[in-house]
Each structure stands twice: as C-alpha cells, then as structure tokens.
C-alpha cells in the first residue's frame, strides 16, 4: 500500500527561489527508498517539506490518504513520521539519555518512555554505554547513532534520514547503513537521502534520482545502480572514464 505520496510539490526557503519544482513521488509501505542526486538538487528540501519544516508552495503531501501538506513538524510526528536532519539535530549540551528523552517528547504516557529508551538501546548498545555523556562530546558515528536512536523512540512508521553517512569514515558509514537496512525487519518504511549513491542504493529497495528540483529517474535500487546514465552522472565521471579506457 502507498504510505506516502508527494504530488507535484514546489518548495523553497524564505523568499528564495523554488528549489523543488513539481516533484512527485510515492513510497510504498515497508520499502526502503533512497533518493540520490547532486548537491542543490533539493533532496533535503524534499524531506523538510514532507515533515513540515517547510511549507510546500504548490502541490500536496499525502500520508496514508491524508493531506499533511500544512502540518507542522510536531503534528507530522504524531502521525508517525520521524525525521533525522543532515546536521543530525542533536542537543549538544544534553546527555545521550536526555537526547533520547527528548525523542519521546510527545509521548502522552511518560511511563512508557523508559521502556522505549531501553528498546532503542538494545538496537544501539553504544548509547547505553555513553548514556551520561554530553552529545557534543560524541564522535561523528556515535552522534549519527544517537540521532537515529532518538528518531526510533516513537517507533515511527516512516523514518526519513538525510545523508546518514555525511562526514563519516567509510567503515563507520557502512555500520550505519547496515543498521538502516535492518530497520526493514521492524516493518519500518525508510526514506533515505544520500550523497553516496552507491552505498545508499545498496541498502535500499527503491531509488529516486533527483536533479535540479525535478525527479528524473525512479526504479528498483539495483536497476538504478546498474544504469549507465546514473553511473556516469552520479557515481563519478572517473568510473565512466575507467570503463572507456578499459574497453
């Protein structure tokens, strides 16, 4: 079933130009989708428009049949959409535990909070270890785990992550992607934005290529990964050159 539908959305920041231009997208339940594309294509803008940090100038965002275009973040959160921004969005002077507590901010039943935190700590044991450490003292990978963990407190139906591997060493990024891949097993739908097209598409079922605010290509992740056009444009001209010189 279609969980999320983005219909012809146009969006931008403040009084600035349109970054997204008439984007349409669907995300099926239970799928892990990865959006790739060059810088400035509007990938982050898209996620922000979906969760409510940005209001679409035109078009609609439909979640489980309901129009959520004008909802603010605390409202989309209540619907089951959790967003992990590019900058991770941690509270630097709060401890790991306090950050997790904030993850469950909108929980009505506060007694459940401890349960949920324990659950998340099982997924990311590191967070339990570093419970009393301030978020700003964590390493890049640890911060990313905290950001993801925090988003999981509410057990979202749709998890959106903006560039999880940004600034991380390859090995650590790989760990993160592994974890993201495993979320499928919880029945979670994941919408991922990635600069690292290869890694991103590798852990996804479905892929979208965004360029200049418009969606260009979509399809099963492995098909896109193998697509020559994508290889040339986004996986590095070097790869294309190598293919040329070899043949």
């Amino acid at each position: 079933m279609t969980l999320l539908q983005v219909e012809n959305v146009t969006a931008g920041y403040g009084f600035g130009p349109d970054i997204l231009i008439g984007i349409s997208l669907t995300v099926e339940e239970g799928r892990t989708c990865c959006i790739i594309g060059p810088n400035g294509a509007g990938k982050s803008t898209l996620l922000k428009a979906i969760c409510g940090l940005l209001r679409p100038r035109q078009g609609r965002v439909i979640y489980k049949g309901e129009d959520i275009s004008h909802l603010r973040p605390y409202q989309t959160l209540a619907k089951g959409i959790c967003f992990v921004p590019q900058e991770r969005g941690l509270f630097p002077d709060m401890t790991v535990r306090e950050n997790l507590v904030m993850g469950g901010y909108i929980l009505e039943d506060r007694s459940r909070l401890d349960q949920e935190i324990d659950r998340v700590c099982e997924i990311f044991p590191l967070l339990k270890e570093r419970e009393s450490q301030r978020a700003k003292t964590l390493s890049g990978g640890e911060q990313q785990m905290l950001a993801l963990g925090r988003a999981l407190i509410l057990n979202p139906e749709l998890l959106m992550v903006d560039e999880p591997s940004l600034g991380l060493a390859p090995r650590i990024a790989a760990d993160i992607f592994e974890k993201i891949r495993s979320f499928k097993d919880f029945g979670m739908t994941v919408l991922l934005v990635e600069q690292n097209a290869r890694k991103g598409l590798a852990c996804a079922d479905w892929g979208y290529v965004l360029d200049l605010g418009k969606e260009r290509i979509e399809g099963p992740a492995d098909t896109i990964l193998a697509d020559e056009r994508i290889q040339e444009l986004y996986l590095g001209k070097l790869a294309a050159k190598r293919k040329e010189t070899r043949s």
Binding site: L53, P73, Y74, L77, P92, D93, M94, M102, Y105
Partner: protein, 291 residues
C-alpha cells in the same frame, strides 16, 4: 572597609545581578532576542513596588508575589503581539533590538510623565538594619534580596531540569530546529520563556525598589550593565551569566570601595570592551553569527 567585607557585599549584590541578567539570557537563548527593554521593565517593576509600599504599605518583598506573575502575563501579551511579526525576517536580531529599544523609549516616556523624574527609593525597615556575622556585616535588605534571587533562580533551575516544558526550553535553546523535529512547539516555548524573562524583570524591580535609587532614565545604565555582564559570560549561557555576575559584582564592589561608588559601573563597561577585544564570544558562549 575590610576587603573581605567588600567581597561579601559584592557577592550578595552579584546574586541579585544574576537574577536580573538571567531573564535576559533566557530570552536571548530561546529566541535570539536582545531585550533592550529589560531595564525599563525592571524600573517599572520598581515603581510598582515603590508605590505599593508608599501608598498601600505593602512591603516590596510581598508585592513581589503580585508583580512577578503580573509581569509574566504582561510578557506573554507583549511577545504575542509583537514578535511573531518579525520572526521570518532575515535581519531578525537587529530588528528585535530596535523593537525592544522602541519599547524602552515608550516606557521611559510614560514613566517620566506619570511618575516624574524624582529619584525614588522605597525604605522598609530592613533597609537600615544590618546583620552581624562576627566582624562582618551585611545589610538586612541586601540579604533578603539575595535570598529571594537565589530562590527564584533555583526555581528556574528546577523548572529547566525537571519539567517537560523545561526540557523543551533547554532543547529549544540548544537547537531550535531539532526541537521542532522532536515535536516541541517552539512558539509556545518562546512565548512562555519571554513571560518568564519578564517575570524575572518584575521581581528584580521589586528588589531594586529598596536596594537602589531609581528614576525613569536609569534603565539605560541597568541594561548596559546587564548586557555587559551577559556578553562576558557568553550570550545564552546560564552558567556564564552566573559567574560573570558574581565576579563583576565583586570587582565593582572593590572598585567602589577604592575609588568611589561613582566609578563602579565602569567595571562592567570596561569588562565589556575587554571581552569584545579579546574574546567576543565571552567565557561560555559560542561565536555570535547571524543565524
């Protein structure tokens, strides 16, 4: 005067300065508003306490219980009617300064007209008493004021660290966007924080009414002192505000003792210049960039 005595008086005064400046820090930390009108509202609070005392015989420490909640609601009204209008603006911080400036002028003018420029000071009995501790003494009024300040700051601390809204406030101060993402209604947090900041201004005013002499124009000196203080401590840092309030008050006390009371405000201003020259972000602050 004995140096230790001077230091003790300075610390006591520093406690009161902390109360005053913390309201500013809260408002800046949550909303990035530099509230230039804080001093004017403190003076307004002082006038209310003063007239409460001279006309109705209500002790300033008691009227505090009335003024503080009153200013809280006043703050909410002011915030809601003025600031959302400029929230999206690219020159936000500068505009908030100008807006607050305008409010300060309005208050100064109104207070000058209706209360006149006569120097005022409330004098309940404890203003002239003092308490002895061996060789040292502390004026009773000052002691009460410091205790009140500590209690109020303690309440704020408890609020920020043990209540859900307090957590939300701290989160908003540390990362406003992230707070939105986890579901905090940052507009509501901003409104309430502004109310709390104003409540602290009102409470400080009650204390000022008997600790100092005041008149409408004095708010400029107060706001300059308080801002110098929070710039030294680092804009948006409660710990920084506390430390710089205590240290500067002690130094100002010593300066007053050695060179005369007229020079003690200089301490704050000179420290502001020094901080700006060598470490603009203050002791505990981050670099101030337009966000």
């Amino acid at each position: 005067m004995h140096t230790l005595q001077t230091v003790i008086l300075g610390l006591a005064l520093g406690g009161v300065y902390s109360l005053m400046a913390t309201g500013l820090t809260l408002i800046f930390g949550v909303m990035r508003i530099v509230n230039l009108s804080h001093g004017a509202f403190m003076i307004l609070g002082a006038y209310l306490a003063y007239f409460g005392f001279t006309l109705y015989n209500i002790d300033p420490l008691l009227s505090l219980f009335i003024v503080t909640p009153l200013f809280f609601f006043l703050g909410i009204i002011i915030y809601k009617s003025i600031f959302p209008r400029i929230t999206g603006s690219p020159r936000f911080m500068e505009m908030t300064i100008l807006v607050a400036f305008g409010m300060a002028l309005i208050l100064e003018g109104a207070m000058g007209k209706y209360f006149t420029g006569v120097y005022r000071s409330a004098n309940p009995s404890y203003v002239t008493d003092s308490i002895q501790f061996g060789e040292l003494f502390i004026p009773t009024g000052q002691l009460y004021a410091t205790i009140v300040s500590i209690v109020l700051l303690g309440l704020l601390w408890a609020f920020l660290n043990f209540s859900r809204l307090g957590y939300a406030t701290r989160a908003t101060m540390q990362n406003r966007d992230a707070a939105q993402i986890v579901g905090v209604n940052v507009e509501r947090v901003s409104t309430i924080s502004y109310g709390i900041g104003m409540a602290m201004a009102g409470a400080s005013g009650s204390l000022i009414s008997f600790l100092f002499t005041f008149f409408p124009n004095k708010h400029w000196q107060w706001i300059a002192i308080l801002v110098s203080l929070i710039v030294l401590g680092g804009l948006g840092s409660f710990v920084g505000t506390l430390i710089s309030a205590l240290s500067l008050a002690v130094i100002a006390s010593l300066v007053s003792n050695w060179f005369g009371p007229v020079w003690s405000p200089l301490t704050f201003f000179l420290s502001l210049f020094i901080v700006l020259l060598f470490r603009p972000q203050g002791l505990f602050g981050k670099k101030l960039e337009e966000e």
